[in-house]
């Protein structure tokens, strides 16, 4: 079977909306409902965060959601149980995002086999070094047809972007040079030219902008310079406010995807 991320990008190249949320937040058993709501929404991709005690790359909103999720009792065993039957209702590509230590302690091979068993299509581990990927992750993920998505920054050197693009599967995740998650609002002007430099070195993968996307305005800006964008912190904030996930998630993604009328 074709990997769902590849299938998505094969039929749709532009305006990709990826939504990130933390597993087990706001309540332990919300994972399934949020996932189903996203399936019914206009989101194209779903990233589920594995909560970690010390999330170095994350800003306050995602940090807090991780701590709440851990207090709720979320862990990888439980997450895989919650995702066990997701493919009955969810057809969209699903990725897990987290920190390498969680995967190491779970067992690298066991982790990927569980991912494959429940139908997870891709993995994002921001602190996984390229060399470590090649040594311990590449063989098993290729065997199981799981995509490992790498991150690049707008200041990553062209030579390195080429290596990361080559190793990356599904897409490439683009960050700015000043961005723990949720830290930046909008896409600064000078970023546009930097993105075109990055694009010159990317030949294999679509590029999703992975920071600073709060809503409709930033999302449409991102879609002008890349294949789409990821919303994380702003979505977590929505979940914190929401009393009706189905309705609010559908509304949120629909507004984000509404084309801005250019004056």
């Amino acid at each position: 079977m074709q990997n769902r991320i590849d299938a998505l990008f094969a039929r749709k190249k532009q305006d990709i909306l990826s939504i990130f949320f933390t597993a087990g937040f706001p309540n332990l058993k919300d994972t399934g409902l949020i996932l189903e709501s996203l399936e019914e929404s206009e989101a194209d991709l779903v990233e589920i965060g594995i909560p970690f005690s010390d999330p170095l790359g994350d800003g306050p909103v995602i940090q807090d959601s991780s701590l709440v999720a851990l207090k709720n009792g979320m862990n990888l065993n439980l997450l895989f149980q919650q995702l066990k039957d997701m493919r009955v209702t969810v057809q969209k590509p699903v990725l897990l995002m987290g920190y390498l230590n969680s995967v190491m302690q779970f067992g690298i091979e066991k982790f990927y086999r569980q991912c494959a068993a429940v139908g997870v299509d891709g993995i994002i581990l921001p602190d996984l070094p390229l060399e470590e990927f090649k040594m311990y992750h590449q063989r098993i993920t290729e065997e199981l047809n799981i995509k490992v998505v790498f991150l690049v920054s707008v200041d990553t050197k062209p030579e390195r972007i080429k290596q990361l693009d080559e190793a990356s599967g599904g897409f490439l995740y683009l960050l700015s040079s000043n961005s723990t998650t949720g830290g930046v609002k909008g896409i600064p002007e000078q970023f546009h030219s930097k993105v075109s430099v990055v694009k010159n070195s990317v030949t294999k993968n679509p590029l999703l902008i992975g920071f600073g996307i709060k809503g409709q305005k930033e999302y449409s800006q991102a879609c002008e310079i890349a294949n789409g964008a990821v919303i994380g912190s702003a979505f977590i904030e929505l979940l914190t406010r929401s009393h009706n996930f189905r309705k609010d998630i559908a509304g949120f993604t629909s507004i984000v995807k509404t084309k801005l009328i250019k004056s």
């Binding site: 010390d54 170095l56 230590n101 302690q105 779970f106 602190d127 991150l151 960050l175 000043n178």
Partner: protein, 401 residues
């Protein structure tokens, strides 16, 4: 022969490496490619050695502690790192790294601190070099090490209270790394211990190696031989121990003893004895031994000593422990407090709570009569006076009732 130094890839055995988000890749790579080159230049060495001598006050004395020697029936020398400018070994590394930061054209310095000694050292060298300094410190530590907070502020540093986790050193380090991720161009992260991504552990150990270099020369003068039987040092992240062990690593007859903080006891659930209760994983950009639960969530450490209250340990120590080149033991809060009081009474030296852990280990080691023991007295105890006073009052109260 076994190899104890870092490999070209940044590993000590299987420990070390650089597990950082891609945004920091350039910074870590720049540092990796430049630190050895810059440090080896004559210009750098002249400036570094000059400052260590005239500003820090090195060499620090090696003091034959006769009363302590008598108590333990052996020959004990104290390496007086407490007599450094700012009161601890931390300044050795801060001087080295600030010169490197200047060379790399950085304008803003960030640092994490637990006991505040590294924060003070960083604030001091920033004042000296006219650089902007931001120190991250857990709120718990801000309370228990208040004198050092006041010093940092007077030195012109911004002290940012960290409110996450147990509000101690681990959390301060998380926040410093987040700052670095958000300001990679302008900012140099001045790490205070042999932790973090490669090349930090090797670089910090290198700057602290002046300790063991001096010990060798001083012992030669005092006893006509440069190697002792023991070197004892406390270990949080492990920079003073790394520096005290450095030039003895290949003298296999020298027994190296690292002392961790057991807190209320190794199995009490309130401990910072990482090597006793930890397992392999990744913390602060490095693969090492750390305290974690079965899901890989980092567990909160505990020690009365802010400088040792850390759930990880430098990868070099994880490795020296694994290959049995060094032995690591632990002592409790109370044992450390008693040892501090003891040293004060016997030798007229008030040690830092961190160093008091190394002192408490003396009672747990079996020395022979003519053995030579070096104890690295990493810092002075001014910052801990309130803790000591409270403890003394408690004992006196207990005695009276």
């Amino acid at each position: 022969m076994k190899k104890y130094n870092v490999s070209e890839q940044g590993y000590y055995g299987s420990f070390g490496g650089a597990y950082v988000p891609e945004i920091l890749f350039n910074n870590v790579e720049e540092l990796k490619n430049s630190y050895l080159k810059v440090i080896q230049t004559e210009k750098f060495q002249n400036e570094f050695q000059g400052l260590l001598r005239d500003y820090v006050g090195r060499p620090t004395p090696l003091f034959h502690a006769k009363n302590l020697s008598e108590q333990f029936n052996t020959t004990i020398f104290l390496k007086r790192e407490d007599l450094n400018h700012t009161g601890a070994h931390k300044i050795n590394n801060a001087i080295g790294q600030i010169l490197l930061a200047k060379e790399l054209g950085k304008t803003r310095i960030i640092a994490e601190t637990g006991a505040g000694q590294h924060g003070v050292a960083a604030a001091t060298v920033c004042a000296l070099m006219g650089m902007k300094c931001v120190v991250y410190m857990g709120e718990t530590d801000i309370v228990r090490q208040a004198p050092n907070v006041a010093r940092m502020k007077m030195l012109g540093a911004t002290v940012v209270p960290v409110l996450s986790g147990n509000k101690t050193l681990k959390d301060a380090t998380n926040e410093a790394i987040r700052d670095w991720i958000n300001n990679p161009e302008s900012t140099y992260y001045l790490i205070g211990s042999v932790v973090g991504p490669h090349p930090y552990p090797d670089m910090v150990a290198g700057f602290q190696s002046v300790i063991s270099k001096e010990i060798k020369a001083q012992l030669k003068t005092a006893l006509g031989k440069e190697n002792p039987d023991y070197v004892v040092a406390c270990v949080g992240g492990g920079s003073n121990a790394a520096g005290a062990f450095y030039h003895f690593l290949y003298n296999e007859d020298v027994k190296l003893i690292g002392v961790e903080a057991a807190g209320k006891g190794i199995h009490s659930g309130h401990t910072a004895a990482t090597l006793s209760v930890g397992s392999a994983g990744i913390i602060h950009g490095s693969k090492t031994i750390l305290m974690q639960n079965e899901d890989g969530q980092i567990t909160e450490p505990y020690s009365i000593s802010a400088g040792l209250d850390y759930p990880g340990i430098g990868p070099v120590h994880a490795y020296l422990n694994e290959v049995r080149r060094a032995d690591y033991i632990s002592v409790t809060d109370v044992e450390a407090l008693e040892a501090a009081i003891d040293l004060t009474k016997k030798e007229g030296i008030i040690p830092a709570l961190e160093s008091a852990h190394a002192l408490a280990a003396l009672g747990k080691l079996k020395f022979k009569k003519n053995e030579v023991v070096i104890l690295n007295l990493s810092g002075r105890g001014d910052k801990d006076l309130e803790t000591y006073t409270n403890y003394l009052n408690k004992i006196n109260y207990a005695k009276q009732n």
